[in-house]
């Protein structure tokens, strides 16, 4: 779905622009140079489209992939990554997942945000559910994942990382193929 179709102007934005200007101040040392509320209110009142996520996966695939195939969908960041060992796995419990190896080829600094999305399809090419894999090496998400400010272990830059995208909620049918996309990728 194109973003222009999804535009829904936010009436709250203008109000928020006004109300969000007071705020507490985290700056003791430069107290004499704080921008005043009057100055803050000078921020331009611009209305943006409602924040929208990645385009929804196709409900039906025009070309049905071979059984077990995982296809990488071209998108905004596929030219700066290398995705290998893609596999549609099924555990004994019957739960499907997409696994693979992901490496960033264009940047070496820490990953701030990475999201991989797997769309699962049945034998006739109908969407039966989606799953995602989220990853970060720096910032709050990175710290939460690793328990410390620093990142330990394999990195997405260079050698790369293994990933597993598990459906959530459970699939509505048996997965026969999948399409993987990279809607979010930000390096420090």
């Amino acid at each position: 779905m194109n973003r222009s179709i999804r535009l829904a102007a936010l009436a709250l934005t203008a109000l928020a622009l006004t109300t969000a200007c007071g705020g507490s101040d985290g700056d003791k040392a430069d107290a004499g140079q704080r921008p005043a509320q009057a100055e803050q209110a000078a921020a331009p009142a611009v209305t943006f489209p409602a924040p929208s996520g990645a385009p929804a996966p196709a409900a039906t695939l025009a070309k049905v992939p071979a059984k077990g195939e995982v296809r990488l969908e071209q998108g905004p960041f596929t030219d700066r990554v290398r995705v290998t060992k893609l596999q549609l796995s099924e555990k004994a419990s019957g739960k499907s997942s997409v696994t693979g190896h992901f490496a960033i080829t264009s940047d070496v600094s820490d990953v701030l945000a990475l999201e991989l999305r797997a769309a699962f399809y049945d034998e006739s090419g109908h969407l039966v559910g989606t799953g995602s894999f989220q990853y970060a090496e720096e910032g709050e998400a990175g710290e939460a994942a690793h328990g410390t400010p620093g990142h330990a272990g394999p990195r997405a830059e260079g050698a790369g990382i293994d990933f597993t995208a598990v459906p959530k909620p459970p699939l509505t049918g048996k997965a026969a193929s999948a399409v993987l996309s990279v809607p979010v990728l930000v390096n420090e």
Partner: protein, 538 residues
């Protein structure tokens, strides 16, 4: 005002020395008495600088006139080398101009230092090592904030930026970077997001919403701007008239439409509106030929889908490689100045970032780091050349933080990272000086950790911590980079930012205000005064 004039008039020669480009090195070699005298002078100058609340129409005085001194300030050009610490400057100087040479930035008449710390989220507790987002918010909005925050304070409140204020007041504005233009440093002047990762093209909770202590996402803010991808904000808020950099992949065709509706000339193509998502095949990056042909006053040029290509890599590519169509930072600086100059009677405010100094320092690639320092310094020259002719332009050159603990070690020595243990820590002559842990001998160089000069004999070993070496103009003819004979030995402490202060240089009317030891939030107030002739109210 009178007090300030007197301070500079009484102590002109000492003030000059206090803030000479080599002041840090010089002070190390001075006796204690001399240092003390200089400290007093430095403090006097800092006080004077801090009290310099001057109007555009009130020329400032010091003992060293230079072209533009005492003139009204019409334009402010703020250049920063991302991740450029004091040693980056020194190493760049030695590499390209020799030990007695100077980079262009070092030729500016005023020098100071900037403390860069951030704060913990929701508090005013210092976090001593900043990221680019927090630091850029400090000088853009005058507030300390948490790492990852852009254009919001530590409490997630939106704060107006200097570029927004300049635009609203009628100045022409520009934002130039070798990074994705949605990256933290340029982003802080013309966007507001809770997390810097919220760059686009799409929203996602993981990229745009901070997490609570229990790992759940915070509730979306009332002000939805704060979770609107930076690319969408840039394309719609009209804050910068001239936008040059990388990051085309962050934008979509509806962004191009929004820009064109505001009168921007958009170089290249943001893609095919009929596609659900854009790809390298559907978008067309701008080229330096496109840029050269720009006549309009408002322009957006994105020359790479990601960050621009590092200069050293570009130099090694064939002439017909697509990367050769990317302009250098210096070329973007010149063009942006051309486009902004004279656009408004008020003047202009332009930010220019050399982003790859940081990115190549993260990678511990000294050769590319040095080349990016040089490329940034060339942009400084473009700005100061203009300022010298114009006479009404303040040029400020600084950094957001140091990156990677860049260091110059003595030829033939080694670092702790290369050794089996740290240096000896005993004082046989006076055992009272001994402390813990006590080490009776220094650790030898470990051949496993140090397998040869990194850009020479040891270049094939990915676990090698040895220094990289570079020839300088002072070296004998025939001395090669990567050889033990090269005189410039460079090492990195880590792949991350450090909390070291960064240098600042300034030229033009009002430049003396920056000759101080200052906190990065103070830069906002000083630039505000330069543009508006008064202090920010509050």
């Amino acid at each position: 005002m009178e007090r300030q004039s007197r301070s500079f008039a009484v102590l002109p020669h000492l003030t000059t020395r206090s803030y000479s480009a080599h002041s840090f090195a010089a002070m190390r070699s001075m006796g204690h008495k001399r240092r003390k005298a200089l400290t007093v002078v430095a403090l006097a100058s800092a006080v004077a600088a801090g009290s310099a609340v001057t109007a555009n129409s009130a020329p400032q005085h010091d003992a060293r006139p230079f072209p533009g001194h005492g003139q009204e300030i019409h334009n402010v050009i703020y250049l920063l080398g991302d991740g450029m610490g004091r040693t980056h400057v020194t190493a760049g100087r030695e590499r390209y101009y020799g030990a007695q040479g100077k980079l262009n930035m070092e030729r500016l008449p005023y020098t100071g230092a900037v403390a860069t710390y951030a704060v913990e989220k929701g508090t005013d507790q210092p976090a001593l090592v900043t990221d680019s987002a927090s630091s850029a918010t400090a000088w853009s909005s005058g507030v300390k904030t948490y790492n990852a925050a852009l254009g919001v304070d530590a409490y997630e409140k939106r704060r107006v930026t200097l570029m927004e204020q300049a635009k609203k007041a009628g100045f022409a504005t520009g934002n130039v970077s070798t990074a994705e233009i949605t990256d933290a440093t340029p982003g802080a002047q013309f966007s507001h997001v809770l997390l810097r990762g919220c760059q686009g093209p799409v929203y996602s909770d993981a990229a745009c919403l901070p997490k609570n202590a229990d790992g759940s996402y915070e509730k979306a803010p009332e002000d939805k701007t704060l979770i609107t991808p930076v690319a969408e904000q840039i394309a719609r808020n009209g804050t910068a008239d001239v936008v040059l950099g990388g990051g085309l992949a962050r934008f979509e065709p509806d962004d191009q439409k929004a820009l064109q509706a505001q009168g921007y000339q958009v170089l290249g193509s943001f893609g095919d509106p009929s596609l659900p998502a854009q790809t390298a095949a559907s978008q067309k990056v701008a080229t330096k030929a496109d840029l050269a042909g720009v006549k309009g006053k408002k322009v957006v040029g994105l020359f790479n889908r990601g960050n621009l290509t590092v200069e050293q890599a570009k130099a090694g590519l064939p002439a017909d490689a697509p990367q050769q169509q990317e302009p250098s930072l210096s070329e973007m600086a010149k063009k942006s100045i051309d486009l902004l100059n004279g656009r408004s009677k008020k003047g202009f405010f332009l930010q220019i970032e050399g982003a790859q100094i940081d990115k190549r320092s993260h990678a511990n690639d000294a050769a590319q780091t040095l080349a990016e320092v040089k490329a940034f310094d060339d942009a400084v020259k473009a700005a100061t050349d203009f300022a010298k002719k114009d006479g009404h332009t303040l040029v400020i050159v600084t950094a957001d933080h140091e990156c990677a603990g860049f260091n110059i070690i003595e030829k033939g020595t080694y670092t702790n990272a290369e050794a089996v243990a740290p240096p000896a820590n005993t004082d046989a002559g006076n055992p009272a000086n001994n402390s813990k842990p006590s080490r009776d001998k220094s650790g030898a160089k470990d051949p496993v950790r140090s397998s040869g000069i990194l850009n020479g004999a040891g270049s094939g070993d990915v676990k090698n911590f040895a220094p990289a070496t570079f020839r300088t103009p002072d070296d004998a003819a025939g001395v090669k980079d990567g050889s033990p004979e090269a005189s410039l030995w460079l090492t990195y402490l880590s792949g991350n930012h450090t909390g070291a202060d960064v240098p600042i240089y300034a030229y033009g009317p009002g430049a003396e205000k920056f000759a101080a030891s200052q906190i990065n939030t103070e830069l906002y107030g000083k630039m505000y005064r330069s543009l508006f002739g008064r202090a920010p109210r509050g």
